[in-house]
């Protein structure tokens, strides 16, 4: 990727004296930039693979594509989670072709090689044709992903053998993952059902959008109309609520934390949930107070968090909790997978209301996400003019000591890290570009 280092066009433009932070629109459209992102970001970051609850028992498996790599996420006979590169050591075929299931072993149907749940070669037809110690060689086994670690049941992989350990990588994001996972003392689990969709837009637009409190009022006007009818209180405009805060969590991670008008299964009641709901949510909140104390319980239950983990994981703890990951397939096309995360063993009543709450806003059939997709796709179209209108502005809140959730600090945190990885020193000087 020599062209990146040879390029004299900056990826971002920062002028703290003028409170300006600009992002080059070229970053969203240039195929060379996408190719460099693959090498410099996706091959060198911790990437979300899946959640422990998706493979609860030995033999359970899920296959998943992570940054263009086929991964087999399994639990071996000893109960250890494993992440294997889903390719046969013999001739390369994807060994497991099912999306999920439960197995005692995995057989590559091409020549019949059989692998254990740990990826070790168990047998192959015509063994007499191989050297006597062939099966004991590492190269005869399915290859584990170079790095595989978990935090609070969230499993991540990395293709960079030398990457820092996951907890260090997560930096300040750990505090927010803890706040989300502490909703339950029995652990969290992924609800069955995967929303697998796409947007005809650059993947970084979804990063920005997922932690953008500024767009909600206009982009989601119709959702807030709806919400006003269900909460039993005027939703009003965003100005009537405290704005919340935006934080840079280090290593490109960021979060916004803020109060909202919508109901939260853990635990902010709305009128639409009736008296049974009020009783249940009171009980959940009181249990939470008993477990973590009044102050932390209030923060967990009454505030919302849009958490971004660099480069492509979003955990939004809002009217439900969604885990969302996305990958570029082309500069103007991304694939998205999203799940609902909920306290393990939640009551049937609450599970139902949680899922209704999720679908009212979130996902490709919701009352809000499709409008996000439309906004992002229209941005992508707008970027067709990038040569003459080269910069996006994300400077909102730079004039504040503590930027709010409707400012753009979160996006600046992402782009600063993106730029650091994409354009290792020397950083292009701002004198080389026009503001």
């Amino acid at each position: 990727m020599n062209l990146m280092s040879q390029s004299n066009e900056a990826g971002i433009l920062v002028d703290n004296s003028k409170k300006i932070f600009k992002v080059a629109r070229r970053n969203f459209v240039d195929p060379d930039i996408m190719a460099a992102e693959k090498e410099r970001i996706f091959e060198r970051s911790w990437l979300y693979l899946g959640h422990s609850s998706e493979i609860p028992k030995s033999g359970d498996f899920v296959t998943r594509n992570v940054a263009g790599r086929g991964i087999l996420f399994t639990r071996d006979a000893k109960g250890e989670a494993r992440a294997l590169l889903n390719t046969c050591p013999h001739r390369g075929m994807q060994v497991c072709r099912e999306k999920k299931g439960s197995a005692k072993s995995f057989q590559c149907f091409y020549h019949g090689w059989i692998f254990g749940l740990d990826g070790k070669l168990r047998s192959q037809p015509g063994e007499e044709g191989y050297d006597s110690d062939f099966k004991s060689r590492d190269t005869s086994n399915m290859t584990p992903v170079p790095r595989f670690e978990s935090y609070r049941d969230l499993h991540f992989i990395s293709f960079d053998r030398n990457i820092v350990p996951l907890p260090e990588y997560l930096a300040g994001a750990r505090e927010y993952i803890d706040l989300i996972c502490d909703q339950s003392d029995r652990g969290m689990s992924i609800t069955p059902g995967t929303q697998e969709y796409s947007m005809r837009a650059n993947w970084k637009l979804l990063t920005e959008n997922s932690i953008d409190g500024y767009h909600a009022t206009t982009t989601h006007a119709s959702y807030f109309d709806y919400l006003g009818g269900t909460t039993g209180m005027p939703v009003g405009d965003a100005k009537s609520r405290p704005p919340g805060n935006g934080y840079d969590l280090g290593n490109g991670h960021a979060v916004i934390e803020y109060p909202s008008a919508w109901g939260r299964p853990v635990a902010q009641w709305i009128a639409a949930w009736g008296e049974q709901g009020r009783t249940e949510l009171d009980r959940i909140f009181n249990d939470l107070v008993a477990r973590v104390g009044q102050q932390r319980a209030t923060r967990i239950a009454k505030l919302n968090r849009n958490l971004f983990i660099f480069p492509n994981l979003v955990i939004n703890d809002i009217m439900a909790v969604t885990v969302r990951t996305y990958f570029p397939m082309a500069p103007d096309y991304m694939v998205v997978s999203s799940w609902s995360l909920a306290p393990q063993g939640e009551s049937d009543w609450l599970s139902k209301y949680r899922l209704q709450n999720f679908l009212e806003f979130l996902g490709p059939g919701g009352f809000a996400t499709p409008d996000d997709a439309e906004a992002l796709e229209q941005c992508q179209r707008g970027f067709g003019n990038f040569k003459d209108v080269p910069w996006n502005d994300i400077s909102k809140g730079m004039n504040s000591e503590s930027p709010g959730a409707r400012d753009e600090l979160q996006m600046r945190a992402f782009w600063t890290q993106w730029n650091k990885l994409m354009y290792p020193a020397p950083v292009p000087q701002k004198s080389s570009v026009a503001a």
Binding site: Q195, E196, S198, S222, V335, Q356, P370
Partner: protein
């Protein structure tokens, strides 16, 4: 209506499709009973999965269905403003009487959505539970199961299937 014929059921489904294609959504909503449901499950769920404990794409009760229609008729439903053009094609209609007076109806659908120079295809089967009324039917339940592995490249179900 007792002893409904397949022709009558097909006429009803074609009428429904036509109302959707003409964006006459408030009239379309009138086709549903007051306790109606409209569901689109995620494609990795087993048949018969319930939206009470599984993540769907859409799991509307009659109230939410009404809100969906209200939303789609607004300019602020940005994804559908201006409205996309749709073409709902319904075929292979089969019907089976139930023990009550309702009918179970199965059909296949191909729905095209065109907007901004892009045409997306939605393909699948729909299962209806229809309640006969004096003139025709009301829809008590409509469940659309998409055939595609994922919602790609269409990326959204911003129209009614």
């Amino acid at each position: 209506m007792t002893g409904a014929t397949r022709e009558q059921v097909e006429d009803f489904l074609f009428h429904e499709a036509d109302l959707l294609d003409q964006w006459r959504l408030p009239e379309w909503l009138e086709l549903f009973t007051e306790d109606a449901e409209y569901h689109v499950p995620c494609m990795d769920l087993p048949a018969g999965a319930s939206p009470d404990n599984n993540l769907f794409y859409i799991a509307d009760d009659r109230f939410r269905l009404g809100e969906r229609v209200k939303r789609l008729m607004k300019r602020t439903a940005h994804v559908e403003f201006p409205h996309s053009k749709t073409r709902h094609i319904v075929g292979n209609v089969r019907m089976k009487p139930r023990d009550d007076s309702d009918l179970d109806v199965r059909a296949v659908f191909t729905t095209y959505r065109t907007k901004d120079g892009i045409t997306d295809l939605y393909l699948g089967t729909s299962a209806y539970r229809l309640s006969p009324i004096a003139k025709g039917f009301k829809i008590k339940n409509k469940r659309c199961v998409l055939d595609s592995d994922t919602l790609r490249p269409s990326g959204r179900i911003s129209i009614v299937l």
